[in-house]
């Protein structure tokens, strides 16, 4: 039996009968092999390097575990119970939240502002500035963190000298986390600039020209046309930044080691400290799992927000057209 379906030719606008047999385009065996091998290698890597380690860590989070001496004693939910009663964990969690919000906000706002400035027809030497702004992104984080540690030095650091201040930036709990945030924004904003520029150049020129012809001011054009069209890129940057900043660790290790006290401890630093300094891998795994859950929830929430933001104009258009038809 031949099942008849119809499809529309994209080029001719014709409707042509197609059989199931003709829908199955025969692929060369070599291509199938290549596909299977490629997908197989990727799947095997994911299982071997991601799923199995995550599974081991999950099991480990219920144990008193030190892989370096082979200790692996079941402790039930003790690690999780201890974790929620640990004031350092709550301090690290609130620090991570503050750090994430400030760093994302700084990266997005600075990145967007500079990208928009570079996008302007009035700007000159765009390639030069794009390179300059992107340079910190390609510098190793450890080197940047060391550099900023010297700049923050209260005796001979550039920042106090430049602004005539007398602040111990990294050892004063009022400023230490903020000092790390500023360094992180400086390191990362260049990447946001490049992404926003890509988003800006993807906006159809006729849309901007139409706004100009209609006499829209620069601010109205930005607010009502450019920003909504940049929304997918904006969410992409926010989500990738969020995932990255929830795992921020190197800058804390180099600049403050979590101090003074625990005022700059972030969750990732706490995981490192428990696993590789105190060899409490079970406890560290429990923290890592909490972090994984928080990251997954926040990422899912962000995706949903992005999707609903994208769906709203579509729904509006659909509703508008329906009303036109019924009237």
């Amino acid at each position: 039996m031949t099942i008849q379906t119809s499809t529309r030719s994209a080029h001719r606008g014709e409707t042509a009968p197609v059989t199931q047999a003709t829908r199955r385009i025969k692929k060369p065996a070599s291509e199938l092999w290549l596909r299977n091998i490629t997908v197989g290698v990727i799947m095997a890597s994911l299982v071997l390097l991601l799923l199995i380690p995550i599974g081991i860590a999950f099991v480990g989070s219920f144990h008193d575990w030190n892989p370096l001496n082979g200790r692996f004693d079941f402790t039930g939910i003790d690690n999780y119970a201890a974790l929620f009663a640990d004031p350092t964990f709550w301090r690290a969690s609130s620090n991570t939240l503050v750090f994430g919000i400030l760093a994302i906000a700084g990266r997005v706002l600075l990145g967007l502002a500079i990208a928009y400035a570079l996008f302007s027809k009035l700007s000159r030497w765009r390639t030069f500035f794009r390179t300059i702004f992107y340079l910190p992104t390609v510098m190793p984080l450890v080197a940047v963190a060391f550099l900023w540690t010297l700049m923050y030095n209260p005796q001979f650091g550039a920042i106090n000298t430049l602004f005539g201040l007398d602040v111990n930036w990294l050892f004063d709990q009022r400023f230490s986390l903020l000092a790390i945030v500023v360094m992180t924004i400086w390191k990362d904003f260049g990447f946001a600039v490049i992404l926003f520029l890509a988003g800006l150049y993807a906006i159809p020129e006729d849309v901007l020209e139409a706004a100009s012809v209609d006499g829209a001011s620069a601010w109205r054009t930005f607010w009502h046309i450019i920003l909504p069209l940049l929304r997918p890129m904006l969410f992409f940057i926010i989500i990738t930044s969020m995932i990255g900043y929830l795992q921020a660790f190197v800058q804390v290790l180099v600049m403050t080691n979590g101090g003074p006290g625990t005022s700059t401890q972030l969750i990732s630093f706490m995981i490192y400290d428990q696993a590789f300094v105190k060899y409490n891998f079970g406890y560290a795994s429990a923290i890592a799992f909490i972090l994984l859950i928080i990251t997954a929830l926040l990422t899912a929430a962000s995706w949903r927000m992005n999707q609903s933001a994208l769906d709203t104009p579509r729904r509006r258009r659909f509703t508008h057209r329906s009303k036109e038809k019924t009237s």
Binding site: D64, N66, P67, L68, N69, G70, D73, T75, A82, D86, T88, N153, P154, Q155, N168, L170, F171, D172, Q173, G258, G259, P260, G261, T262, S263, D273, F276, V277, K278, Y279, N280
Partner: protein, 417 residues
């Protein structure tokens, strides 16, 4: 060839591995050339033996080595740091040397005994001293006669070495920034307070002695002789010529030679609470350890390793060289009086060697938690009593379920808290 050694001896006139060729690996994270030279000197006596010293960076060493040993592999010989004791000991072969002979020749060897067996000992001992800038000392009109022996005298000297320009501190008399925790663990011993209770496993942090130690140094800063905001680390500030005195362990003399070669400095013994009175202990010490032997190595490798161990432990010249390289006071008693050690200010600052305590390979939480405690006190305005209580709670939590037992009980003058 003559037999070397005093109590532990080495006879170079015997064959090893029946003269058959054999090759051993020896892992080290530093001073590879010196260790290779020792291995090569041994190979000259026993040409059938080749020992390759393999450099493994510190960053990887303490994950790679335990995992290799656990899997039944790893090098036949490996250098040990006693902070990693817990992760290594299960795969270490005991030394085939009478512990009594080891104790007779090596200071502190008895403190490494586990069920009557030794797996590694100290080749040198490291502890704290006060380093001072001799130019600043002279500029303040101080002489050798002013070197303080008590903490009260020290406080006055710190004041004399301080230079202020109005409210601005220009030269700190004493700077212990980022080093408070290093002093803390050792100086409570001066007041008769051990790090652990008599059971050897309950931490003893929240007590009067530790409070007194904290208060002493807080008072020195309150005098204006130093400031928490004056340089991130006291040792760095000292090296940069901004602070006149700092407390540091022996490693610091190597740092000064390498990083600040133009600085004129010397060191004196850490002061004590009362003049003319020997305290319970002068300070805490830690050892630079001898190498370990892989329990999973073949019998032939172990036999050669044990022979090489005797050669190593009786090689006075190498012990002297290693002690100077590591800036440690030699544990090998036959060379302890060598004048070369008196010429090194950091080693000359050592007091009576028997009056230092090794608490054992204490877990890292002691260091990290007391470091946090000091930052809470100096920078976050937390009261010392409160900070001590928090540190006690954290260390107790970190040690719960662990089977660590302190070596304090092996101290010759031990007295339980």
């Amino acid at each position: 060839m003559p037999i070397a050694g005093v109590n532990v001896t080495y006879d170079p006139n015997t064959l090893v591995n029946d003269g058959k060729p054999i090759e051993l690996d020896w892992w080290a994270w530093t001073n590879v050339e010196q260790f290779q030279a020792i291995a090569d000197a041994y190979s000259e006596i026993h040409p059938n033996v080749v020992i390759n010293v393999v450099n493994q960076p510190w960053e990887d060493y303490w994950t790679k080595l335990p995992l290799e040993l656990q899997s039944g592999g790893g090098p036949a010989l490996f250098n040990v740091h006693n902070s990693q004791h817990e992760n290594l000991i299960a795969n270490m072969e005991p030394y085939d040397i009478d512990p009594a002979d080891l104790e007779a020749d090596y200071a502190g060897a008895a403190s490494h005994l586990i069920d009557g067996e030794t797996h590694y000992i100290d080749l040198g001992l490291m502890s704290g001293a006060i380093y001072y800038n001799t130019d600043m000392w002279e500029a303040a009109g101080l002489t050798d006669a002013d070197i303080p022996t008590t903490w009260d005298e020290f406080r006055e000297v710190a004041k004399a070495l301080t230079i202020r320009d109005g409210d601005q501190l220009r030269q700190a008399g004493f700077n212990f920034n980022s080093g408070g925790h290093t002093m803390q663990a050792g100086l409570a011993y001066q007041l008769g307070q051990n790090l652990f209770e008599a059971d050897g496993s309950t931490p003893a942090i929240d007590n009067e002695a530790n409070l007194e130690v904290i208060q002493r140094f807080v008072d020195i800063y309150a005098d204006g002789s130093g400031d928490p905001d004056f340089g991130a680390a006291g040792t760095d500030s000292f090296g940069q010529g901004l602070s006149a005195m700092t407390y540091a362990w022996g490693w610091f003399s190597g740092t000064l030679k390498n990083d600040y070669p133009d600085l004129n400095w010397s060191a004196f013994q850490t002061p004590v609470p009362e003049a003319g009175e020997t305290p319970y202990a002068l300070d805490r010490y830690n050892g630079e350890s001898t190498f370990g032997i892989n329990a999973n190595a073949s019998d032939a490798e172990k036999e050669v390793a044990q022979d090489f161990l005797r050669y190593f432990l009786t090689d006075a010249e190498s012990m002297k060289e290693l002690s100077l390289i590591f800036s440690v006071f030699p544990a090998y008693k036959p060379i302890a009086d060598d004048p070369v050690f008196a010429e090194n200010p950091a080693l000359a600052a050592f007091g009576e060697i028997d009056r230092y305590i090794w608490p054992g390979p204490i877990p890292a939480t002691f260091e990290t938690t007391t470091a946090t405690m000091w930052e809470e006190i100096l920078f976050n305005g937390v009261a010392p009593e409160e900070a001590l209580a928090a540190a006690q709670a954290t260390i107790e939590k970190d040690l719960s379920g662990k089977d660590f037992v302190s070596s304090e009980g092996l101290y010759a003058f031990y007295s339980g808290n």
